[in-house]
Amino acid sequence: MSLVHLISANTRMEFIELKRYLPNTIAMFLTFYIIFLAMFFGINVIGDPQHAETNIQYGIVNMVFWFLTMMTLSNIGFTITLEATRGTLEQLYMSPYGVWRILLARFIGYLMINSVIVVLLLAATMLTANQWLNLQPHIVIPLLFLTIIGIIGIGFMIAGMTVIFKQMSAFLQILQFILMGLAFVPLSIAPFLVLAPFVKGFDMVREVMIHGFTWSHFTAADLSILIVNSLVYLIIGVLVYLKCEKVAMTKGLIGNY
């Protein structure tokens, strides 16, 4: 039950911060919207006109995935750096629930708020492009939920590294291009990416939204791979974070910026 209160406190905190830094928040969404528009018109101008519709749908879905992963992961690195700079990180470490649970609560809170924003962004995107995707929430939501578990795992790895190295902005900039690759490349082109985090999940959601797949189109193996992949990344992520925390505590790096 306490974890629920932890999530509630952190979701509220994320929402308040988004509200208090409103110009920043608006600028962030505008940036992504402008990136999408550039992508949309780019496809229209330089793409094959015969496949323009599919390409645009593909572009919209990928852009939304990229936005979701990038915002979540960069937020995690940024949160740790910001907390260390502000002087609040040490205070978070005074919680008997451990910082990894607080971070988990923050991820969940952040993802909940971001999901609402993503839905709005997606609606705006579809409206602008006049391309309507197969949303099928009863399939997309569970698939995205499973995919997000893997994203959280990667988030923990980034958080762990940030606790030790603090300045991760350069790494996060490189990461956004890696994420772009993972979010954009379909498994049919690079099957080995099935081992990478969240690629399988995004691929499945893409199939639903663009090609109208339903549950019956997926095999038990597809779902098993998605579940195992996400859980493995989550477990590795938490273990990496706890190890980094231990190193930081031995070297006296907690809170030092």
Binding site: R12, M13, G87, Y97, M249
Partner: protein, 326 residues
């Protein structure tokens, strides 16, 4: 009645390696002391003495190389999260707060991070806001508060956790005299009414003298004193003298005094000196007699805790220099 031990710091040692030079630095060595229930303990020392390292080890933010810390019987290193149920802290003063959140939002957020339901802590928050005279500011952003108010809020956040032990690092740093007094009175009240144990690290000696029953003084990473404040003042008071002289001291006399009495002050024919051994008074008389210096008056000086602290530190510094050169 035997006092109940709530914190046991036992033989803490920590080495650091400097990043650039790779030189090994001993931050603390064999730091040992206990803290008892309902006590306000002062943890003192000059900058770089090892206070922060000790404090961080006590909160489990730093793993010691040797030794252990037990809070209410729980080993901090082995069961850190369990131990944190018994200790809360203000480590960075007003920087421990979220400046873009209001006073009440800060209290609610930190309570939530300790697993409390927002609805359940409202009464306690109201009580703390009243106690710390922050009720009229509850909906204001922390960034708009004065430093003193921010400091009071940081302490209120620590108290909200309702732990038996509260660790306050520099609770009166950078705040005005009035707020400093208010905080002191609040802390006294909290200890008296709620039987909390408070550990204060501070450079503000009047605050320590007013609040703390006992002090642990650390220098060069080692505990040099673990004694009641009153005892320390008594000890030094009996050995501090002020002599009014009939004429100026000559250079030779001053040199002799400087060599033999490390803690002294001389100006306008007034000599204030701290004697370390019983026989020192006779030696001082000999120095004065050597140039037939007239002594007009001898007073025992009243000493405050700041002077006691300086005496202890400079005495230890001298020993440290001697032992280092050997």
């Amino acid at each position: 009645m035997e006092q109940k031990r709530v914190v046991q710091v036992n033989g803490l040692s920590k080495l650091y390696q400097k990043r650039k030079t790779k030189e090994i630095v001993k931050a603390i060595e064999g730091v040992t002391f206990d803290v008892y229930e309902g006590e306000i303990l002062g943890l003192l020392g000059p900058n770089g003495a090892g206070k922060t390292t000790t404090i961080k080890c006590m909160c489990g933010l730093l793993k010691p190389d040797e030794g252990s810390v037990q809070i209410k019987g729980t080993n901090v290193e082995k069961s850190r999260l369990k131990a944190l149920n018994h200790i809360s802290a203000v480590l960075e003063g007003n920087r421990n707060l979220y400046w873009r959140l209001t006073v009440r939002e800060n209290l609610e957020y930190f309570a939530g991070n300790r697993g409390a339901r927002r609805k359940d802590v409202q009464t306690r928050i109201d009580h703390l806001l009243d106690q710390f005279n922050l009720k009229h500011k509850e909906n204001e952003l922390v960034s708009s508060l004065s430093r003193g108010m921010q400091q009071k809020l940081a302490i209120a956040v620590a108290l909200l956790a309702n732990t038996e032990v509260i660790l306050l690092d520099e609770p009166t740093l950078g705040i005005d005299v009035e707020t400093g007094y208010e905080i002191r009175e609040l802390l006294k009240e909290i200890v008296k009414k709620e039987n909390k144990t408070i550990i204060i690290s501070s450079h503000d000696m009047p605050v320590v003298q007013d609040l703390c029953e006992r002090t642990v003084i650390i220098n060069h990473g080692k505990v040099i004193t673990n004694e009641k404040v009153d005892n320390l003042i008594d000890l030094f008071e009996t050995k501090a003298y002020c002599l009014s002289l009939g004429e100026e001291l000559n250079e030779k006399q001053l040199q002799q005094i400087e060599t033999h009495f490390p803690i002294y002050e001389y100006s306008n024919q007034k000599l204030e000196v701290t004697l370390e051994n019983d026989g020192d008074i006779y030696y001082l008389m000999d120095i004065l007699k050597s140039a037939s210096t007239i002594i007009e008056k001898i007073d025992r000086t009243t000493i405050d805790f700041e002077q006691v602290f300086m005496n202890l530190i400079s005495r230890e510094e001298n020993e440290y220099v001697v032992s280092s050169s050997n």
